[in-house]
Amino acid sequence: MSQFALEITDLKKTYDSDVVALKGINLAVKEGDFFALLGPNGAGKSSTIGIIASLVTKSAGKVKIFDIDTDENFPEAKRLLGVVSQEINFNNFEKVIDIVTTQAGFYGIPLKESLLKTEITLKRLGLWKKRNDQARTLSGGFKRRLMIAKALIHEPKLLILDEPTAGVDIELRREMWEFLKEINAQGTTIILTTHYLEEAEQLCKNIAIIDHGELVENTSMKDLLSRLDVQGFVLDIDQSLEQPPSILNFPITLEDSTTLNVVIKKDQSINDLFGQLSALGITVSSMRNESNRLEEMFIEMVKKN
């Protein structure tokens, strides 16, 4: 048995409209990984996921799920795979419980057993109280949870989520993060695409960046972030200033009278900055990243490409 949950070799996709979505992607995701697949809109993320899930037909290449070649035995590979699509894809007029039990039925789980599994899954996702509601009456966040419940009902070993938290409020997003971390800790391999780079940074161990149908990066999150040369910080200070303080080697700008923006290089010490500010009689009351670290890296890479 391969140690890889997913292996993609020279995957190509050209749509009927002659749009080349994938130009030969090679990717391997280890079993148990929490993997981020990032890229700007139209980069080829959804095409890749669509091919893995058999929603899109590939033009060339190979896809293996837990060593099962999808060209040779796709049904068997699909049993190991759960997919949460980007768009809502259930009948809005059906009840929540019916949607999930029907999905279980499509995977060959008998009704009695699927009712039991549905109860467990809906309770886990906080949907049990809404089991008899029509799906169309659910809020956006609960619809997202229902999508996840559907994808998990047959207990897949590999779960692919295509922007699962798009349009979800921050509280629910964090709840979903905890849930995903939990199932990953229990052994489910997770591949995530997202536009919230903070989400990828928080959750994922490894990362691939795709742009214009090509893989521009495929490494560990730690390695990628360690390549950041500079980081921007926002400092809130106690007193009001009219001009930014002049500190050697630290370029500082004034955002407003009580907020400083400072750029710190990788080899510089933040303690050094605080020491110099303190010497000038400036006390820092709070500090935060100017923007998400991964976001800076991502923009840089996409620009280069």
Binding site: Y15, T57, K78, N89, G105, F106, G108, P110
Partner: protein, 259 residues
């Protein structure tokens, strides 16, 4: 063995889903054919029928019954599959099926069985309605009647499936039933025997596939027909095989279902 059971469960799930779908909206799916056919029986059977007299040696209302049952079976089998399959495409819930391990043939059988069950159910409802207007009706050849009923439902469910695969809008699922099926059914011997037509129109009518379906069913119910029954049955089976193969090929290539 385990995989075979799983496949059976998935197939039953899809069939159950399809049947539940049209039963849930029974006012839209089951009642209208009963009402429409009652009107046909009242107007053409009870009011105008006696003035027409006999057709092929039978009371006009009696002659009409198999044709009207077939008309309902054809339109409902077709409508069920075309609307159901197009809806799952439109709502993207087809992805629920495509990501599952169900093979293409099971997906096809599931939808077709939904259409067949509705077609047969409507056929039974219309037959029951006809008994109010012609209580002494007896079926001459039940085996042939039931066989044609099922084969016709399968045939037109398959046609509906192909229509749904190529449909890109709700307009596309009503064009064929309105502009092709309905005229062919009306001109296919539902209300008259082609023996009353002039030679030229009789010959043209022989090219209408509905004529064979309606007349084979009429042979089963009443023992009268304008066409050769073995030939008609062979043609129905032949087209079922051709259409089913076409559906499987379309599903395999992902036309209309996968990008």
């Amino acid at each position: 063995m385990k995989r075979r059971n799983e496949l059976l469960v998935s197939l039953i799930t899809l069939i159950r889903k399809e049947i539940k779908r049209y039963l849930r909206i029974w006012v839209q799916t089951l009642v209208p054919p009963a009402v429409t056919m009652s009107l046909y029986f009242v107007i053409f059977g009870s009011l105008i029928g006696p003035r027409i007299g006999t057709m092929d040696g039978l009371d006009y209302i009696q002659f009409m019954i198999p044709g009207l049952i077939m008309m309902s079976v054809i339109t409902n089998s077709y409508a069920n599959v075309v609307s159901s399959f197009y809806s799952v495409k439109f709502q993207k819930s087809i992805e629920e099926l495509l990501v599952s391990p169900m093979p293409n043939w099971a997906i096809l059988v599931g939808f077709i069985m939904g259409g067949v069950s509705r077609g047969v159910l409507i056929g039974c409802i219309v037959f029951c309605v006809s008994l109010f207007f012609y209580p002494s009706f007896t079926i001459v050849n039940p085996l042939l009647t039931v066989t044609v009923l099922f084969l016709t439902s399968i045939l037109f469910s398959l046609m509906g499936f192909i229509n749904a695969i190529f449909a890109d809008s709700f307009d596309d699922i009503s064009i064929i039933p309105t502009f092709v099926l309905t005229p062919l059914i009306y001109l296919g011997g539902v209300f008259y025997s082609i023996n009353i037509l002039p030679d030229i129109w009789r010959n043209i009518s022989m090219a209408n596939p509905m004529l064979y379906v309606v007349n084979t069913f009429r042979e089963g119910m009443l023992g009268v027909s304008d066409v050769s029954i073995p030939f008609a049955l062979a043609m129905i089976v032949f087209f079922i095989v051709v259409l089913a193969s076409t559906c499987l090929l379309l599903l395999h290539r992902g036309i209309g279902t996968r990008q």
